[in-house]
């Protein structure tokens, strides 16, 4: 068995009964023990993918192979998978202990009561909910319910843990805390985990790698930093990063890249980084806000509309050729709204995208 391909999803497809194709030939693999984030905007097919892996939905094409065996004809209860639902899906009439024990009281994995209780206690300790054992889920806070549902998912020691936006019902501070806890926990247990989220920051902070979805297609399957630094296409560049990337409409003619009020000779770009021929025509030049530096020799002369503080940095907002753009500078550099400044682009860090979104540089 290949540890690098513990989970293998091959050309997975899903067309719903109403004819909507939610997943269009998706393939990826997950290394044993990794925590992988499925990231993407709402409606891109993350839950659909997860449900197919769990067996709650039947794919209309492709295959799911875990540990060398296809799961397609295996019932959900026999897939040996743990699932943490977005709304926790705890059984409201049972106590926390009964909820956590439930998987060991049904089906073919039934265990004697005292043994089940011991195992449940162990995982409740791991998730810090021992004191809540006799409470009903209705009396718990969101974060506590989340821990209960994680304990319940882990208690059968499944080969895979699936989590569908497990943090989206929590407040911001708790989200930060629990996401750390989740990462530590799954690493401690050593379980291979798929974690669905639409929050890029969450994905970047806890994922060993990130699979970015859009419209039922994988846009990029990479380490977080590569998604940020080397986006495959315009969608990835726009989706990842906060504040969002700046996009300038440009034309390439005579070995020159010309935008509104600025011009960059093509020879200034690193020739090894081109992914194809740069034919004349329309492109989008994209650059992350932190790669615009204040400089008197800058290409861009702008008037600042607004300034926003985010922690130790300052976001300068300005309008270029009718579109809003941003630059990120140090807090120490005092710029006020209305100031006229010049920005220099860090040309090592610009991207050129074709109109269809394909990256060319």
């Amino acid at each position: 068995m290949n540890e690098d391909k513990f989970i293998q999803v091959n050309n997975l497809e899903k067309t719903y009964e109403n004819g909507y194709q939610a997943i269009k030939s998706v393939s990826f693999s997950v290394k044993k023990g990794d925590l992988v984030c499925l990231l993407g905007p709402s409606g891109c097919g993350k839950t659909t993918t997860l449900n197919m892996i769990a067996g709650l939905l039947n794919p209309t094409g492709g295959d799911i192979i875990v540990n060398g065996k296809s799961l397609l004809n295996v019932a959900p209860k026999d897939r040996n998978i743990g699932y943490v639902f977005q709304n926790y899906a705890l059984y409201p009439h049972m106590t926390v202990l009964q909820n956590v024990m439930f998987p060991m009281t049904v089906g073919k994995n039934k265990k004697p009561k005292d043994e089940a209780e011991k195992i449940a206690q162990k995982f409740m300790k791991l998730t810090h909910i021992e004191e809540l054992a006799d409470q009903k889920p209705g009396n718990l806070s969101g974060g506590q319910q989340q821990r209960v549902s994680i304990a319940r998912a882990l208690v059968q020691e499944p080969q895979i843990l699936l989590m569908d936006e497990p943090l989206s019902n929590l407040d911001a501070r708790l989200r930060l805390k629990i996401r750390e806890e989740i990462r530590n926990l799954v690493k401690e247990v050593g379980i291979t985990t798929l974690f669905v989220t639409h929050d890029q920051e969450e994905a970047l902070s806890i994922g060993d790698k990130i699979i970015l979805f859009h419209n039922g297609v994988i846009q990029q399957d990479d380490k977080g930093q590569d998604l940020y630094l080397e986006p495959n296409n315009q969608f990835v560049a726009n989706f990842i990063g906060n504040p969002v990337i700046d996009n300038f409409d440009v034309k390439v003619t005579d070995k020159k890249i010309s935008g509104t009020d600025f011009e960059i000779p093509v020879e200034k770009l690193d020739s090894t980084k081109f992914r194809g021929d740069l034919a004349d025509g329309d492109y989008t030049l994209s650059i992350r806000p932190e790669n615009l530096k204040l400089s008197d020799e800058g290409e861009l002369s702008e008037v600042i509309d607004d300034v926003e503080l985010i922690g130790r940095e300052r976001v300068l907002k300005f309008t270029h050729a009718g579109t809003n753009q941003r630059a990120l500078i140090d807090l120490e550099q005092e710029i006020k709204p209305g100031d006229s400044v010049k920005f220099k682009m860090n040309l090592d860090r610009v991207y050129l995208f074709k109109p269809d979104g394909e990256r060319i540089y």
Partner: protein, 276 residues
């Protein structure tokens, strides 16, 4: 100003409720009191409301003149059997309709809905023929057989089951529970209110049934309370006070059930026990 208006409104509402309450309850009260009167007291004009002496001996006479104990037993057996079996079949049916996907589900649902429109009286003679052909006249089985399933109760439970988030069912599947385990360990405990309501309604309607047992039984030992009461009323001739005592006898158990389960009945009607 506004407060005063509100007060008058409330007085009107209470008056209204009070009058209707009395109209509803009066026959019951009169029945109970009448069962303790002498024959003369029940027939005088103007009518007597409060008997001079409470004649408990009326009840003794009732039990002497007809086998009411047997009627009680028969009624209890049929009402309890229909209740238990109806609950069971309705739970399974409602579960299938709520959580399972199968071919022809929409069609079956359509048929069920249209059958719901058919009043029970309309098919009572077909049912009678069936039971007669099966040779089940004057048997307990014949008494209960047509009432062991109920589309109405199934739909009623379905409304409880669909109120449970579908992810609960998914979670149970992932946890390894079979459908059978899901039904008994999750669905049923989470729908207690609905199940108690169905049980009560089914038991009460079984207890009160009249037309069907009248058709399929003619032996005295197979009679149910209501038929026994009707027969008694004609046998006892003009003994009004005994008729009222017998009527009280048949109603009291239902009243006791109402009294014990009044919270659940109200909750079942109001449906606020499913916060999830």
């Amino acid at each position: 100003m506004k407060k005063k208006k509100l007060r008058w409104g409330m007085i009107f509402v209470y008056l209204f409720i009070g009058i209707f309450g009395i109209i509803t309850v009066f026959p019951f009260i009169y029945m109970i009191l009448g069962g303790l009167m002498s024959y003369q007291e029940t027939t005088t004009i103007p009518p007597t409301l409060i008997p001079k002496t409470l004649r408990w001996s009326n009840y003794q006479k009732v039990f002497e003149q007809a086998p009411f104990a047997r009627y009680f037993l028969n009624t209890f057996i049929t009402a309890a059997t229909t209740t238990i079996v109806t609950l069971f079949t309705s739970i399974l049916g409602a579960f299938a309709m709520t959580n399972l996907k199968f071919k022809g589900k929409g069609f079956i649902q359509l048929i069920f809905l249209s059958l719901l429109m058919v009043p029970g009286e309309a098919i009572i003679f077909t049912n009678y023929n069936t039971i007669a052909h099966l040779g089940l006249l004057n048997t307990y089985l014949g008494l209960v057989l047509p009432f062991l399933t109920s589309i109405f109760y199934m739909y009623y439970l379905q409304s409880y089951f669909t109120a449970i988030s579908p992810t609960i069912y998914k979670a149970a599947m992932i946890d390894g529970a079979s459908d059978w385990e899901y039904i008994w360990k999750i669905l049923v405990p989470m729908s207690k209110g609905g199940l108690i309501t169905v049980a009560l309604l089914s038991f009460i309607s079984g207890w009160n049934s009249f037309l069907w047992p009248l058709l399929v039984t003619n032996e005295d030992k197979m009679r149910l309370l209501n038929n026994g009461l009707a027969a008694f009323a004609s046998d006892a001739g003009a003994q009004t006070q005994l008729q009222l005592a017998a009527a009280t006898l048949t109603v009291v158990p239902v009243l006791i059930v109402y009294f014990i389960f009044r919270k659940q009945i109200i909750r079942g009607v109001v449906r606020n026990d499913l916060k999830a």
